[in-house]
């Protein structure tokens, strides 16, 4: 490559990179403050806010609820998205663009509009039952599935675009049934796409707050909803402690992935 970025470009990019990491690093010292309010530890460092995460059962409940809702909604969304993408890929219907548009609607609509829409949906359901309703875990899982299904559709459709149609045609020509083609020909070639769809949809449900805020109040308090409550009025430094843990997990995963890719590249050379 002849035109490497010059020193000025590198400086500007470095400033942006620091800007990107700054707030993530900032929460670390704040989480060790001995005070009850948002502040820097002044000489004395304390673990009381980490202790609070263990002592206050609300955090464990929120964690469990978020994991449960994430698993249910990611499975439902990926299942629906997989079937849909397979159907579109096999049939290639005339109105594929329109169908795709409907499937992706919750992803492109403004999040707050989706939130109000799902609020309307769940309070309407609440008139008929107590299970799938406003402020229940099942209601949240259903609403999350709506919001994350488009991402599953996108990832699986991209994976399907790489599949060679002629292999499927060959299988079909040799008399394989549709179920057999899907199970033995198509699914094996897109399994990475399906797995990444599961992972992405779980993470999206795990962090979802915009819609969750509209459809929960006191019972179905997911982890992000709990953090929101601690952020709004008096800022609770326990949020810093939980943030440090979450940042640590994400940073570790990405670091491992980067190192893994680097060693793989080095071996390939």
């Amino acid at each position: 490559m002849i035109n490497r970025p010059g020193p000025l470009a590198i400086c500007v990019a470095a400033v942006v990179a620091v800007f990107l990491l700054m707030p993530l690093i900032a929460v670390i010292p704040v989480s060790f403050t001995p005070n009850r309010y948002l502040s820097l530890p002044d000489g004395e460092w304390s673990l009381r806010h980490y202790q609070a995460l263990i002592d206050n059962p609300a955090w464990a409940r929120g964690l469990g609820l978020s994991i449960g809702i994430g698993i249910v909604s990611a499975s439902l969304a990926t299942g629906l998205g997989l079937a849909f993408s397979l159907g579109i890929w096999i049939v290639q219907p005339r109105f594929a663009g329109l169908l795709m548009g409907i499937a992706l609607l919750p992803m492109v609509a403004p999040p707050v509009v989706s939130a109000l829409t799902l609020y309307f949906f769940l309070i309407t359901l609440s008139k008929f039952n107590d299970f799938l309703a406003y402020d229940t875990w099942a209601g949240v899982a259903l609403a999350h599935s709506v919001m994350i299904a488009p991402y599953a559709v996108v990832l699986i459709t991209v994976a399907l675009a790489q599949v060679d149609r002629r292999i499927d045609l060959a299988a079909r020509g040799m008399g394989a049934s549709l179920a057999r083609r899907v199970r033995h020909v198509i699914l094996p070639s897109i399994r990475f796409g399906v797995l990444s769809a599961l992972l992405l949809t779980f993470v999206l449900s795990w962090e979802e707050i915009g819609v969750t805020l509209f459809i929960t109040s006191v019972d179905a308090v997911t982890l992000p909803r709990l953090m929101w409550m601690g952020l709004r009025d008096n800022i609770d430094p326990a949020i810093a402690a939980i943030s440090v843990i979450l940042i640590g997990v994400v940073a570790a995963v990405i670091l491992i992935r980067t190192l893994w890719l680097a060693t793989r590249d080095a071996q390939a050379r």
Binding site: A13, G87, L105, V108, F120, V182, L213, S243
Partner: protein, 273 residues
């Protein structure tokens, strides 16, 4: 499996699901906007004439525009290094983009609170070092909202920009250099124009995202500089006027739909109709 005997049936579940959980409820919200508290277009008239609502729309538009320009500019510079830097630079920048991208919007907004609030890190440092006598107010105003939104949106602009930069033909740059253009000139007159569609695409994505933004402005704006999305929340949950909230939602949806239609048309100008 009999249900798999007709592949068309695979499409049905998700379509049914989306129509039932999204399309029909959205029509319900639209119905609220023309029936609450009384039938008619009164809420739309109110939304487009009430000075409070208008000022919120104006602020939303202004903030989104500022955020879009800063985000795309910053992303462009950082993506440049991500795509065209040395190996080490590429790895470092990639981590700086991906780590924030995977971290929840709440954690990131909280990080900015920790940095910018009156008892936050920047104010504490500046006061200890004697730069400031009084703490600077950097959150619960538009400044904080812009900083938080730019931070959230940079990765979303970086992805389309990266794919535009990767598509640039190296030989065009080489030719420009060979004909005597300096580095700055090659960048400004060859490289930037070649990535212009990517810049436009990134700008539209960021603007559309910013319009419906709710969490970051609510936390960093602290209820002072309310934007359209937060106004909807307030009208539904705090000082209820469901009809108005629904009307603003419909207006937002139509705006975003229009912008997306423009984007699609630009992306495929020669698509057969």
């Amino acid at each position: 499996m009999p249900s798999l005997s007709r592949p068309t049936l695979l499409i049905v579940p998700l379509m049914g699901f989306m129509v039932l959980t999204y399309v029909v409820p959205f029509l319900g919200v639209a119905a609220w906007s023309v029936t609450l508290p009384e039938p008619g277009l009164g809420q739309y008239q109110a939304a487009l004439t009430d000075p409070l609502v208008l000022s919120v729309f104006l602020r939303t538009f202004r903030v989104c525009l500022v955020v879009t320009v800063i985000t795309v500019g910053a992303s462009y510079m950082v993506t440049l290094l991500w795509v065209r830097g040395t190996r080490m630079q590429r790895v470092l920048i990639e981590m700086c983009i991906l780590i924030p991208f995977w971290i929840s919007v709440l954690t990131r907004a909280f990080g900015w609170l920790a940095l910018l609030s009156t008892k936050g890190i920047l104010n504490t440092w500046a006061q200890n070092l004697g730069f400031l006598a009084e703490p600077l107010t950097m959150v619960r105003n538009e400044f904080g909202v812009v900083v938080g939104m730019v931070h959230f949106l940079i990765p979303f602009a970086a992805f389309p920009l990266a794919s535009a930069m990767r598509a640039v033909d190296e030989r065009a740059l080489l030719a420009a250099r060979g004909m005597g253009a300096g580095r700055t000139r090659v960048f400004a007159q060859v490289f930037v124009p070649m990535t212009a569609p990517g810049i436009l695409g990134a700008g539209l994505v960021v603007f559309v995202f910013a319009l419906g933004f709710f969490v970051t402005p609510a936390i960093l704006g602290g209820g002072r500089s309310v934007m359209a999305a937060e106004l909807i929340y307030l009208r539904i949950f705090q000082s209820p006027n469901w009809g108005l909230g629904a009307a603003i939602s419909v207006i937002l949806m139509v705006t975003v739909g229009g912008l997306l239609a423009v984007m699609m048309r630009r992306a495929r100008p020669a698509a057969p109709r």
